[in-house]
């Protein structure tokens, strides 16, 4: 059962996307957990026609689960809060797909989100996916990023017939793109079990397992355990919609451009765009263009099975979004080249990481073990790292007394001395061994504090490999979110105190002062206000039975688990309030906004609206963007506290 604020939020999101009808049904289902159609009709006060149509559409969008009992023949409906919540993340997901796989891939993804789930055949027939260019102009900035569009002036609109695209004049790379999405794991095959709640799936699997003769032969505890274990396996098998198998090529998903920019993180993309090397970028784009159409074996263009039904794989997308957060951490205090090398490592890690964690809940801090990614070798990374990336200029020399040393780490500073050496160095630097050495250097930097973002695995044979410890980093993200709140509310003094408590456990005021070196007055004030805010707690340890305050030891502590879960609730609430406020703001502007939405006005705003109105519309859009961005940032926190 969802908490009050999470439930409220899901309802608001559904209302925002699908209107009041779905929202009413959803909130009734959330309140009563599971209902048959007649009961739902009764509680919701909606008529049969409304309900049946709405339920069908909601199932299409996975907003509700259904389960038909074999015993009483009734079909029960249940809210699917996960699907409802992820509506809020759709913008981020589309942005990520666009960044990774281009504008067209984002459009395919949007179509899938819009349809809930869809067969390959249906997607292929969608008019908005036939053209490489977006139907409606949506922002100039995207286009520059999108190589496919460059140099081709295809008209909009469904000029071509659907179906076979071979022989046609530069059709949209639909199948190749769908394969890229599938092999990245961003979409998955829809299975029957996806329409039943996890609890129903598990119970059903348990029943199926219990009926097996080999399980029946077992007794007592052993049987129980075997049932649980086998049922979990069965659920796994039934819900597994993985599409990456068979689509990977040399460990790389389809649609990844080796050597060049698409294999790199946004950091570099942005650098590129902001940078001065305009012509350079263009060259690349052309090259990419070629790669799309001339993939070596033509495999990419072989259509996927047309009856295959796909939907968005939120679990996998969370892995990609979490990795982006890790890259952000690297970018904060490390050179950008280092962050890029790290992004390449994380990309490889992403391909082989199906979900953020295996356990349903985030384990308690002290009880949580580490979970490492599969190690990736430096050789593999070298294939992905842009060869033009300057790995040498970002690190200082081993010996600071010289501005450069023999290992050639400073070819840029070579104007001063050792001129001849430098040239050699540059040659050396471009060689494979040198680059491998440098990649190790960059990742080595990140393996140290303050980063601790990667760790190396040294094997007895062969070169070292690099891996990422997910749980430790997820914990780091959680602590960082708390620290940001603490610093902004209570100041940097409070931050120090909390970190001391985090590291040392429970402490009395005196000990706390000795370590934090803060004057008593400040310390007490800070502790008191943090206690009011729920960030630290006080434990009383009486020395005698009378529990006299004078004979009681007071210990301060910081329980991160408890604080995280209460902040999560606050975050849901803040998201709800922000959405409610924007609904209210929209209400105030209703007459005006309805005018802009009129069928004659929409799309022809310039024509129909006065200058003042256009300005007002823009102001409204900026305002809404501010609110939605605030919600999106709150969602980032939810991801950290709940999903990563």
């Amino acid at each position: 059962m969802l908490s009050q604020y999470a439930a409220e939020l899901c309802m608001l999101l559904i209302e925002d996307h699908f209107g009041e009808l779905f929202a009413r049904i959803f909130s009734i289902l959330q309140r009563y957990e599971r209902l048959t159609l007649p009961r739902l009709k009764f509680y919701s006060r909606l008529n049969d026609k409304q309900l049946r149509h709405a339920l069908a559409a909601m199932i299409q969008h996975h907003l509700i689960y259904h389960f038909t009992s074999l015993e009483d023949g009734n079909t029960y409906y249940e809210a699917n809060p996960q699907a409802a919540y992820y509506l809020v993340r759709s913008g981020k997901i589309l942005q990520l797909v666009e960044e990774r796989l281009g504008e067209y891939a984002a459009r395919v993804m949007e179509a899938i989100l819009y349809l809930g789930h869809a067969s390959v055949k249906e997607l292929e027939g969608r008019p908005e996916l036939r053209s490489r260019k977006p139907m409606a102009p949506n922002g100039i900035k995207h286009e520059e990023e999108e190589p496919q569009e460059n140099g081709m002036d295809m008209e909009d609109g469904p000029a071509t017939t659907n179906g076979d695209h071979d022989g046609e004049d530069k059709p949209a790379p639909f199948h190749a793109t769908l394969k890229a999405l599938a092999s990245h794991g961003y979409i998955l095959r829809v299975r029957d079990a996806h329409f039943q709640s996890p609890a129903d799936n598990f119970l059903e699997a348990q029943r199926a397992v219990a009926a097996r003769s080999d399980i029946k032969a077992l007794k007592g505890k052993k049987q129980e355990e075997a049932i649980r274990e086998k049922a979990q396996e069965l659920v796994q098998e039934r819900t597994n919609g993985d599409l990456t198998q068979g689509l990977m090529f040399n460990g790389l998903p389809r649609g990844v451009k080796r050597k060049f920019s698409n294999g790199l993180a946004n950091g570099q993309r942005q650098n590129r765009q902001n940078g001065v090397n305009g012509d350079h970028a263009e060259d690349e784009e052309e090259e990419e263009e070629n790669e799309w159409s001339e993939d070596e074996d033509g495999f990419d263009n072989i259509p996927m099975e047309s009856g295959l039904v796909v939907r968005v794989n939120y679990e996998k997308l969370d892995v990609a979004l979490r990795n982006a957060r890790f890259v952000d951490l690297a970018q904060q205090d490390a050179p950008s080249a280092t962050a890029e090398v790290y992004a390449c490592l994380l990309r490889r890690v992403e391909y082989i990481t199906p979900r953020c964690r295996d356990s349903e809940e985030i384990p308690r801090e002290k009880e949580e073990g580490e979970q490492f990614s599969t190690p990736i070798s430096v050789q593999t990374l070298l294939e992905d790292i842009d060869p033009s990336l300057d790995l040498t200029g970002a690190l200082g020399p081993m010996d600071p007394s010289q501005s450069m040393n023999r290992r050639g780490k400073r070819p840029l500073e070579n104007g001063v001395d050792d001129h001849d050496d430098a040239d050699d160095d540059e040659d050396e630097a471009s060689s494979g061994a040198m680059r491998a050495y440098l990649v190790n250097q960059h990742l080595g930097l990140l393996s140290q504090p303050p980063f601790d973002l990667a760790s190396s695995v040294t094997l007895s044979v062969g070169p070292s490999k690099w891996r990422v410890g997910f749980r430790g980093l997820a914990r780091k993200l959680r602590h960082l979110e708390l620290e940001r709140m603490i610093e902004s509310r209570f100041g940097d003094v409070a931050l120090r105190v909390v970190r001391v408590l985090q590291a040392k456990g429970k402490l009395d005021e005196k000990r706390l002062q000795e370590i934090s070196l803060l004057p008593f007055k400040d310390l007490r004030q800070t502790l008191a206000s943090m206690q009011r805010g729920g960030f630290v707690d006080l434990q009383e340890v009486p020395k005698d039975a009378q529990r006299q305050p004078s004979k009681t030891i007071f210990l301060w502590y910081h329980d991160a688990d408890r604080v995280c879960s209460s902040i999560l609730e606050d975050t849901y609430k803040a998201m709800s309030r922000t959405l409610q406020r924007i609904k209210h703001e929209r209400e105030l502007e209703r007459d005006f906004l309805e005018k802009t939405e009129r069928s004659d006005v929409k799309g022809h705003e310039e024509e129909y609206l006065t200058e003042g109105e256009l300005e007002r519309l823009q102001r409204w859009k900026n305002k809404e963007a501010l609110f939605l961005a605030a919600v999106a940032r709150l969602d980032d926190m939810v991801a950290v506290f709940r999903d990563y």
């Binding site: 490390a334 200082g396 501005s403 303050p450 709140m485 902004s488 970190r499 000795e514």
Partner: protein, 355 residues
């Protein structure tokens, strides 16, 4: 043997002791006899001599762990002092003396001397008046009245270390030393790219009117060292640097510096590295960034702190008006405090749409 003979012998014994032993030495019977002063090593005679010396306050009687009798010598100077004291005062003085730099709580003196409170108070007052003892402040037990000999410096247990002045944490001193340490460590944690590259960039900067405080310093570029770099400063080098810098009136010990280093690590300004040659420290920010941050002053209480531009310093809750909202707990749609009637959203919107 006559009284005067004993007196002379005792005096000889005392001088021999001073000469042959450390002032802190605990003398047993054997030690005295080995000095070959007492004729025939007569224990009776020795006892008489020591008794006389004790009376003259030149020896102090001790009992070791095994309850054997032992003595310690007292300097003539101290002996003079002690001679002027009354019996009770002497008793109190000895007890205070015995605790040396740790000092002693008045209550403990009382139990050990068994003197009446008023007598004890009088003794302490008189001793303090003669400047033989002083009262000290204990950071651990700020309410306890404690004494120690006037000539001793209180131990760190009592003062709380170098960071306390009269039992109160000296925040200004701490901050100035900590700031110095961070900057010093930072300079050794980052490689400064030789200046010729940065100069042009700097000129542009000043031309646009962004005049910096340190105008003579060119815009500097800093690079991190390779990860197996070993040149980061250790506790020892940092301690030396602090003591040579002239920012501290007293010499700071390594243990005091370690305290500060740990504090700086909790502030995430420094990190601890375990290198082959021991623990070393590395700064998170480069010297330029450290300097800039240190020169930035904190906004006064209640003042608008201005937009946060530092990456990684804010999140959804710090950015949204709901996060720090004082009425957040009570807020619900349709209530007295509700998202619809909220008075914080409008100013928040204005503020954030303005730039």
């Amino acid at each position: 043997m006559s009284e005067s003979g004993i007196g002379e012998l005792a005096s000889q014994l005392y001088d021999a002791c001073l000469e042959s032993y450390d002032t802190n030495h605990l003398f047993y019977q054997q030690d005295f006899l080995s000095l070959d002063i007492i004729p025939k090593n007569d224990p009776q005679l020795l006892l008489k001599c020591t008794q006389q010396l004790v009376d003259q306050k030149l020896l102090r009687l001790h009992q070791d762990k095994n309850e054997r009798l032992a003595w310690k010598i007292i300097s003539r100077e101290d002996a003079d002092k002690l001679q002027n004291l009354s019996a009770d005062e002497g008793l109190v003085y000895n007890v205070i003396h015995s605790t040396a730099r740790s000092g002693i709580w008045v209550r403990a003196i009382q139990t050990r001397t068994n003197l009446h409170k008023s007598i004890l108070d009088r003794c302490l007052k008189s001793l303090e008046g003669k400047n033989y003892i002083k009262s000290v402040h204990n950071v651990k037990y700020p309410t306890r009245k404690m004494y120690m000999l006037a000539g001793l410096a209180p131990s760190e247990d009592i003062t709380g270390g170098a960071w306390f002045t009269d039992g109160v944490l000296d925040a200004n001193f701490i901050n100035s030393v900590a700031g110095y340490i961070e900057y010093t460590v930072s300079r050794k944690s980052w490689f400064e790219v030789p200046a010729d590259r940065g100069r042009t960039a700097k000129r542009i900067k000043t031309a646009t009117g962004k005049a910096d405080v340190k105008s003579e310093a060119a815009e500097k570029t800093y690079l991190p060292y390779p990860f197996n770099y070993e040149g980061y400063p250790t506790v020892q080098t940092i301690t030396n640097a602090v003591n040579e810098s002239g920012i501290t009136p007293v010499r700071l010990g390594e243990e005091s510096i370690v305290q500060l280093l740990q504090m700086l690590c909790f502030d995430k300004k420094l990190v601890e590295l375990n290198l082959k040659n021991g623990t070393a420290y590395k700064s998170v920010k480069n010297p330029e960034a450290v300097k800039e941050k240190q020169s930035r002053k904190h906004p006064a209480e209640g003042e608008d702190p201005g937009p946060i531009n530092e990456p990684g310093k804010s999140n959804g809750m710090t950015d949204s008006p709901c996060g720090p909202c004082p009425s957040f707990r009570l807020c619900s749609p349709g209530g007295a405090i509700s998202p619809e009637t909220c008075e914080y959203f409008d100013p928040w919107m204005e503020k954030n749409l303005a730039f």
